[in-house]
């Protein structure tokens, strides 16, 4: 809401600076987003008097003039045909004009110029903003104007405008008058009422038009007034400049009056040309399907039966509360007008405006909500302005079709209740006086109080609202901070699953990975990119109705797509390597379209690239993680199509698939515009959470020396090393602490299709030093197991 201070001053005396006023408004709940000084629209443009005019030595069309700006006399080169003696606006060296142009002194055709003469356009204003100026000319001041002062100030363009953020509970304050009332409360002073003063002449408005409301639930009140012998002319300078100050373009006296009243009183108004109201009738009804109307913006709208229309005897002449029809608007030859001042249901206006994609200042105002008192006040204010400006003769009487409504609402309360909410002492007298200054009279019944809340404040429905009205004026500084003074102790704490996730994240960071956070929505193309099979449930996505773009339109069912994008982004931004992870949710609908909440499942994704990164590094991170979580994972060759066919593994824990790890297929990497090998792993954290074991229990270790033995065997090249370790583990070898593969070798000596695998075994006993014979016996068993399970032969 733009509120010119000069306009507020019509109703309230303001004797403080705009900055102080802004602070006081903020303190009672009206955020001032900006203080706009009209005179600061340009800088270093001042009033000067032309004292001398000479011809330019090198150019016929230029003049060299002397401009007295009080403190000194400047030499200016100009093409304006001045004669000398004029008082003008001159931009000095370093001036910044309204369009951002900076003025710098310099030579013009060989003669030094220290400034530039300005017209209204350079100052960013029009003839509607100020008096006594012409468009297309330089600014000319009357004789005697003080020299050297800010030219905009001298033009009288020096208002200060507050941009006030009005919260949704206070729609009434989207008006100068109601805001002035709040200013009066903030400044502890009184507020005057906008003047209502007109004389009607001639026959009743009933002779001009009749009003019928068929849908009172959508239009609880409809008032109309009439004006005869209308004259259309431009509004007064005062009205034009005020409208311009709040961002409304002046049009003519009648249209300007409706906009003026909307701004000042907050009541949307509409003016119909009476000759276009067929049958002399206004009928407020829902449209018939198929009815159409061309609105004032030239747009053709197909109306629906859910939309409220203002109709004459035959057809719609306005979309109620949204925009008038071209067929009934004010023209230069309009002689009789009917003013509409109505209350429409806000949700109806909101739906209609959105359905037709038609917005106006009126619809914006109606959507926020209008109280019952405004219609009459607004209409009478409009007629006052007609009367004052001599725009026509006002018909006697007003038409008023309305439902019954309560003028005020009674709220019973006690100071103790208010104190219990606020936690501070509430002085009874102060409470009553604050409420009454806010326009809420209070009856004191000794023990209890009764607030009489006017209809305009439909945001006040209970004791909490009364408490807020009091404290926002009294000041939160009266509240003393306490820490649950009257409350029970609670034990607090984090759920186990969250602690598990924290643990995973801390471990991965300790392994040298950086945590990322990516968007939850992505492009629908992710499924094709990741070669997800056509029948996979991962292609069933929750889609947004109003996404910011296709690339952000579906809720992801996997994390690795986002990770690959992040890797590619980093690779393209001078980062030689990256080791990253993210824990986040995927969104898996139970059915589509959505009728119940989808499953939101927590996943972990790890991604890496870089010259020193390989499959075993990313797998090592997974192994390290599982190790710290006391989880035994198994890895088997994966068939996932978006991964490298020879460098990808499915990961299982206790027989349950928990995800995959692998190198991204080069074709897929290319689609992500990555010219590097990318490695990715995605793990289901929810499954992992079900499988992990907290900590571990102590196991005694031996005080006797451990014994290590190596064994090299030859197997088929296709035998996975993991199977060999597994074979040994499952062979019930006595004293065995560990079994691992430490070298794999292929070569001519080994033979085609074969490989040599070197394994290391460690044995120990907690009771004694093991003998060579005991170890030899176990090694024999190991070899036997390897022979049996993977066809191993001892390497000779």
């Amino acid at each position: 809401m733009l509120a010119p201070v000069s306009w507020l001053k019509d109703y309230v005396d303001i004797n403080v600076s705009p900055e102080v006023l802004a602070k006081k408004l903020v303190a009672i709940g009206f955020e001032v987003e900006e203080i706009i000084y009209q005179s600061k629209k340009v800088s270093k443009v001042v009033v000067g008097k032309i004292t001398q005019v000479a011809k330019h030595p090198n150019a016929d069309r230029l003049r060299v003039i002397s401009v007295d700006i009080g403190s000194k006399v400047l030499q200016v080169v100009t093409n304006v045909p001045v004669e000398g003696g004029e008082t003008v606006a001159v931009a000095l060296d370093g001036a910044v004009l309204a369009d951002g142009t900076k003025i710098v002194k310099g030579a013009l055709r060989g003669v030094e110029s220290e400034g530039m003469l300005c017209g209204l356009e350079e100052l960013g204003i029009t003839v509607d903003d100020v008096t006594g100026q012409k468009s297309g000319d330089i600014v000319r001041f009357p004789e005697g104007q003080k020299l050297g002062v800010n030219a905009l100030e001298a033009l009288g363009y020096n208002d200060v405008i507050l941009d006030v953020g009005v919260t949704a509970n206070r729609p009434d304050c989207n008006s100068i008058y109601k805001l002035a009332k709040e200013v009066a409360v903030a400044l502890k002073t009184d507020c005057r009422e906008p003047e209502i003063n007109y004389v009607s002449t001639g026959a009743s408005v009933k002779e001009m038009v009749s009003v019928e409301v068929l849908n009172p639930e959508l239009c609880p009140r409809y008032m109309a007034g009439g004006v005869r012998n209308v004259r259309i002319f431009p509004s007064s300078q005062r009205i034009k400049s005020r409208l311009r100050a709040v961002g409304i373009r002046p049009i003519n006296n009648i249209v300007d009056i409706t906009n003026y009243v909307l701004t000042e009183i907050g009541q949307p108004m509409h003016a119909f040309d009476r000759r276009n109201l067929k049958g002399g009738k206004i009928c407020v009804r829902t449209a018939r399907d198929g009815e159409e109307i061309v609105t004032l913006d030239g747009k053709k709208n197909a109306l629906k039966s859910s939309m409220l229309a203002i109709c004459d005897a035959e057809k719609p002449v306005a979309v109620a509360g949204v925009m008038g029809g071209e067929n009934s608007g004010i023209a230069d030859d309009t002689t009789e007008i009917v003013f509409e001042s109505a209350k429409f249901a806000r949700d109806s206006i909101r739906r209609t405006s959105r359905a037709l994609n038609l917005r106006s200042d009126s619809s914006a105002r109606y959507e926020k909500g209008i109280d019952f008192a405004s219609q009459e006040y607004g209409l009478k204010r409009a007629l006052t302005l007609i009367y004052e400006s001599g725009s026509g003769e006002i018909a006697a009487d007003l038409l008023d079709v309305k439902v019954d409504y309560e003028k005020d609402r009674k709220i019973l309360f006690t100071t103790a209740q208010i104190e219990k909410i606020l936690g501070c002492k509430v002085p009874r007298g102060t409470l009553k006086s604050i409420l009454s200054r806010l326009g809420i009279p209070v009856e004191d019944n000794g023990k209890t109080l009764v607030a009489c809340v006017p209809d305009a404040r439909d945001d006040i429905v209970g004791v909490n609202d009364i408490a807020e009205e009091f404290i926002r004026v009294y000041g939160y500084s009266h509240v003393t901070p306490t820490l649950f003074e009257f409350s029970a102790l609670t034990k607090g704490g984090k759920p186990a699953k969250m602690m598990f996730r924290d643990n995973v994240k801390e471990k991965l960071a300790a392994f040298g990975l950086h945590e990322c956070v990516t968007y939850s929505f992505t492009s629908p193309k992710f499924a094709d990119r990741l070669r997800i099979p056509a029948d996979s449930p991962l292609r069933q996505t929750v889609n947004l109705l109003n996404p910011l773009g296709e690339a952000l339109s579906v809720m992801r069912t996997v994390l690795c797509h986002s990770m690959l994008e992040v890797l590619a982004y980093n690779a393209a931004h001078f980062n030689k390597s990256a080791r990253l992870f993210e824990t986040a949710k995927v969104y898996l609908p139970k059915e589509l379209p959505l009728t119940e909440l989808p499953e939101e499942r927590e996943k972990l994704v790890i991604g890496m690239y870089g010259d020193d990164v390989d499959f075993f590094e990313i797998k090592g991170v997974l192994e390290g993680l599982f190790d710290t979580l006391h989880i035994n994972a198994e890895y088997a060759k994966s068939l996932l199509a978006f991964l490298h066919p020879g460098r990808a593994a499915d990961v299982t824990v206790n027989g349950i698939n928990v995800g995959f790890v692998g190198e991204v297929h080069p074709d897929v990497a290319a689609e992500y515009d990555a010219d590097c090998r990318m490695y990715v792993a995605e793990i289901d954290l929810e499954t992992l959470f079900g499988q992990y074991a907290e900590g571990g229990s102590f196991k005694a270790f031996s005080k006797y020396p451990p014994v290590e033995r190596d064994l090299a065997v030859v197997v088929d090249a296709s035998v996975p090393a993991g199977d060999m370790v597994k074979a040994v583990r499952e062979a019930k070898i006595k004293f065995l602490d560990s079994a691992e593969v430490f070298d794999v070798y292929c070569g001519a000596q080994i033979g085609e299709g074969k490989k040599s695998v070197a394994m290391k075994f460690a044995f120990s006993s907690t009771e004694r030093t093991l003998t060579d014979e005991e170890i030899a016996a176990e090694m024999k068993k190991i070899l036997a197991a390897l022979k049996k399970r993977v066809g191993a032969k001892i390497r000779v």
């Binding site: 649950f484 950086h514 009728t595």
Partner: protein, 339 residues
């Protein structure tokens, strides 16, 4: 023989004196005192000396052996010390060369800030909960006192899935989810992702909030202020102050915006706080009794406070991060700064 002994002695002592390395000294030791060394050889010849001369010869020989040995030991100690010094000197390294480190990973700044905040509230007896991000209109709006077509819906630009489901626009729906399933006393904080269809220089369509909710028999604005004051002191610094400004949210009444004294200038006024000395960090209020009732809690018996704060904003203040987009680009050069 006597001359022989004297001659060996002077040769040996000279050799010891001239030796400069421990291996040279060892050679001397072997030459004179070794199994077939010159002294040892003479010892073996003692048998050939006459009975009368033998004791004197023996003693003389032994004296010389002792002298050679002690000279050897003394010289060895000197040589070994100087050799050790030489070795240490040779082993010197440039201590300004970099050390061997393992790679340092990092948690995202939003995680760090989130955990900092949770820690403060855990200390005040709050538990932590999380909730669905795809949320029903009922919980996201209606139970929070925002009916369909209410103007307050314009306060938040909502992503819709269909008429009944949205991407939650705030963490507040979890207030309703908790209040409809839990009896007071309730004290809970709810971190999570939220969504608004707003994407410009200072907005991200996805951001993070932490919601707080306390419901009990007698909760006041004073408790809200005390709780948030404690939070501000622990999160920023012990001299941080807060102030409450009246505001509006449909689900709280009274509602406030909460400012903290600027962490950069400590309230003096700077670029971050736009010269005001205060930075807005969260919205809060007393739970609207209408919300309590809709959630099945008797508003005559119970009251509560709620607050919601934006993690990105706190992280930007805390770390001096200039642009919200940096959180979601995931450039390694950004992430690695938070280890």
């Amino acid at each position: 023989m006597k001359e022989k002994i004297e001659s060996i002695k002077s040769v040996a002592l000279l050799a010891i004196e001239q030796a400069t390395t421990s291996s040279g000294l060892n050679d001397v030791r072997v030459r004179f005192l070794g199994k077939s060394g010159e002294i040892t050889s003479l010892m073996k010849l003692l048998g050939t000396v006459s009975k009368e001369e033998r004791p004197a010869m023996g003693k003389a020989l032994n004296d010389v052996r002792v002298q050679i040995e002690s000279a050897l030991d003394a010289k060895t100690a000197v040589v070994e010390e100087s050799e050790k010094q030489a070795r240490l000197a040779a082993e010197a390294v440039d201590v300004t060369l970099p050390g061997k480190t393992s790679a340092k990973g990092s948690l995202h700044p939003l995680t760090l800030v989130r955990e900092d905040i949770l820690r403060v509230f855990l200390g005040m007896g709050f538990s932590v909960a999380e909730g669905p991000e795809i949320e029903s209109d009922l919980y996201n709006f209606q139970l929070l006192n925002v009916p369909k077509d209410h103007p307050a819906r314009d306060m938040q630009d909502t992503f819709y899935v269909n008429d009944n489901f949205v991407l939650r626009t705030h963490t507040s729906p979890m207030q309703a989810r908790i209040m409809t399933t839990t009896q007071p006393p309730i004290r809970v904080v709810i971190p999570g992702r939220v969504y608004r269809s707003d994407d410009d220089a200072s907005h991200s369509p996805i951001f993070h909030q932490i919601e707080g909710l306390a419901v009990d028999k007698h909760i006041t604005v004073g408790d809200l202020e005390g709780c948030l004051q404690t939070f501000a002191e622990q999160m920023f610094s012990s001299d941080t102050r807060i102030r409450l400004r009246p505001s509006y949210f449909p689900f709280t009444e009274p509602s406030v915006e909460v400012d903290v004294t600027c962490a950069i200038c400590h309230g003096k006024g700077c670029r971050v706080c736009k010269g005001t000395g205060w930075v807005e960090i969260l919205g809060a209020g007393i739970v609207n009794p209408a919300v309590l009732e809709m959630c099945g809690i008797d508003s005559k018996e119970y009251s509560g406070f709620a607050f919601g704060l934006g993690l990105e904003r706190i992280a930007m203040i805390k770390y001096g991060i200039p642009n919200i987009k940096l959180f979601y680009e995931n450039d390694v050069r950004f992430l690695e700064q938070f280890n």
